[in-house]
């Protein structure tokens, strides 16, 4: 089955529970985490998750809104974007 892949970018200060909090929300929405990576870039903590929402039980809009709300609670910026934009911008 064709996957529908999104990138979740989390930017902020490193703290306990970031991965747990986001993973828990994704689990509740039946979203599979395909890959995960984190790094400090220019003093920012950056975590990126690649997720498949093909079998998700809510819409992209709701997923994005709920993740951003969770990010706000934890003092983080959360950006949710379909993989196509990275294909266009970073691959010829």
């Amino acid at each position: 089955m064709q996957k529908e892949l999104l990138f979740i970018t989390v930017i902020g200060k490193d703290r306990k529970g970031i991965v747990a909090g986001i993973s828990n929300l994704l689990f509740k929405k039946n979203i599979n985490i395909e890959d995960i990576s984190q790094k400090i870039i220019r003093k920012h903590f950056v975590m990126v998750m690649l997720v498949d929402i093909k079998e998700a039980n809510s819409s992209m809009e709701k997923i994005s809104r709920d993740l951003q709300a969770l990010g706000k609670e934890m003092g983080l910026i959360v950006q949710v974007q379909h993989e196509n934009i990275f294909n266009m911008m970073h691959r010829i």
């Binding site: 990138f7 970018t9 870039i41 950006q79 974007q81």
Partner: protein, 452 residues
């Protein structure tokens, strides 16, 4: 992971911290098929077509916005030049009624501006077009979302100076009828006007266009400024290269968004306009990019070269990124809308003459320029004609959006509000060109137009 974390972060950073956005998504709509001998039926058909398609545009643009996490600032409509469909209904009263119908349709569909309430008069003016120009002050004063344009010249036809003379008078009258002359912000006079420009106030759905066309305008002065800031030591060749790379990326994002919205509405995708468009937000300014190059304040010697370099790099990066680059695709330097430009006027670094020089090397013209309210109509026409002559001779688009501000003198501040910004009223040369402009007629097309 198919992308490095740096690549993902770069895209997120451009949007979150450097104000990368889709400045406008503009749906071009042909309204020639709405023409009817019964004016009420005609208006109704126009209203229905605009509301129905406007709502579709808003709905799908919002979905795409969420999908890619990139803000789409403006959702707009451009229609067939109104004079073409109103020839048999060309009384001033009917022009005003049609403008109000379109204004109401825009409001109903939640579209902020509908462009195209203008005419192509490069070779001469029909009776209907003359009526339209004469009625424009009342049209602009009685609507808030209708945008108007005139194309008064092309490199192939020369310039219709009689029409330019009408524009000076029309702008003065419009400024008297609207607060701070704000009605003039919704009118652009062009030469070599592109038929697929998505940016207001000058957008219209050209006569060579299909029934519908979805055009995109990207933005990103903030992104370009940021990349220049990180490369302080490089020479001009290297500077050009880093700008090209950045513009390539943002153009690709723009094309993706445009094609996706077009697919969802089921209309053809038109073009991506790669113009760098400023906003009033601090940092989202073309002037600041130029200043980041190493120029203390835009307007200082070296500024024209800097804009030429920027524009050339933007075009090269954009052209590599998309085979559908169109519209204006220049660098916008609207004075009131760009905080850096406005500040340069306030600090006497930038004057009218230098601004005019910039437009010889970049699009698009004297944009959002406030001038004293007591400037004679002939002088306004002459300022416009000077600007447009640059376009005619250099085979490029140039335009003017000039706002005479009632009761204000040079140096006094004017605030147009919101995205239209604020600026000090610019000083104008006091000597008259009235006797020259009164000659009227048509500027012959230049020799470069004879290419066959």
């Amino acid at each position: 992971m198919p992308f490095s974390i740096e690549e993902i972060y770069e895209t997120a950073r451009m949007i979150l911290f450097e104000k990368l956005d889709i400045r406008t998504t503009t749906l071009g709509i042909n309204i020639k098929d709405c023409v009817h001998s019964n004016f009420s039926i005609f208006k109704d058909k126009v209203r229905k077509k605009l509301v129905q398609n406007g709502k579709k545009l808003i709905k799908h643009a919002k979905q795409v916005e969420v999908k890619y996490g990139i803000p789409i600032i403006n959702k707009r409509i451009a229609i067939t030049p109104i004079s073409m469909v109103m020839e048999t209904h060309s009384t001033p009263r009917k022009f005003i009624e049609m403008a109000q119908t379109i204004d109401t349709a825009a409001e109903e569909a939640e579209i902020d501006y509908i462009g195209g309430f203008g005419a192509l008069v490069q070779k001469g003016t029909t009776k209907a077009e003359k009526n339209l120009i004469d009625t424009l002050p009342d049209i602009l004063a009685s609507t808030s979302r209708v945008c108007s344009f005139l194309n008064v010249g092309t490199t192939n036809t020369g310039m219709n100076i009689d029409a330019v003379n009408l524009v000076g008078k029309m702008l003065l009258e419009t400024s008297r009828k609207t607060k701070n002359g704000i009605g003039c912000c919704r009118f652009v006079v062009f030469v070599n006007a592109p038929e697929d420009n998505p940016f207001m106030a000058g957008a219209f759905h050209g006569i060579g266009e299909p029934d519908f066309s979805l055009n995109i305008g990207i933005s990103g002065p903030g992104v370009v400024r940021s990349v220049v800031e990180k490369n302080r030591e490089c020479n001009l060749t290297q500077l050009s290269d880093i700008i090209k790379r950045t513009v390539f990326k943002i153009t690709r994002a723009g094309e993706l968004i445009g094609r996706e919205i077009a697919n969802q509405i089921r209309v053809p995708f038109g073009i991506v306009d790669i113009s760098l468009a400023s906003t009033t937000a601090p940092g989202d300014s073309v002037a600041r990019v130029i200043e980041e190059f190493g120029i203390e304040k835009i307007g200082a010697p070296g500024s024209t070269l800097a804009i030429a370099l920027l524009m050339d790099a933007v075009k090269k990066g954009g052209a590599m990124a998309s085979s559908s680059v169109g519209g204006l695709s220049g660098t916008f330097i609207p004075v009131s809308e760009d905080s850096g430009m406005s500040e340069a006027v306030a600090k006497s670094s930038l004057n009218m003459e230098k601004l005019e020089a910039f437009t010889a090397v970049c699009s698009v013209g004297l944009d959002m320029v406030a001038i004293p309210g007591n400037t004679p109509a002939e002088t306004i026409s002459a300022i416009i004609a000077d600007e447009l002559a640059i376009g005619i001779i250099n085979n490029k688009t140039t335009a003017a959006r000039i706002i005479p501000v009632p009761g204000k003198k040079a140096g006094e501040k004017v605030n147009f509000g919101g995205l239209l910004g604020k600026m000090p009223v610019m000083s104008i040369n006091k000597f008259s060109s009235s006797n020259f402009m009164k000659r009227g007629g048509r500027l012959p097309s230049p020799i470069i137009s004879l290419r066959n």
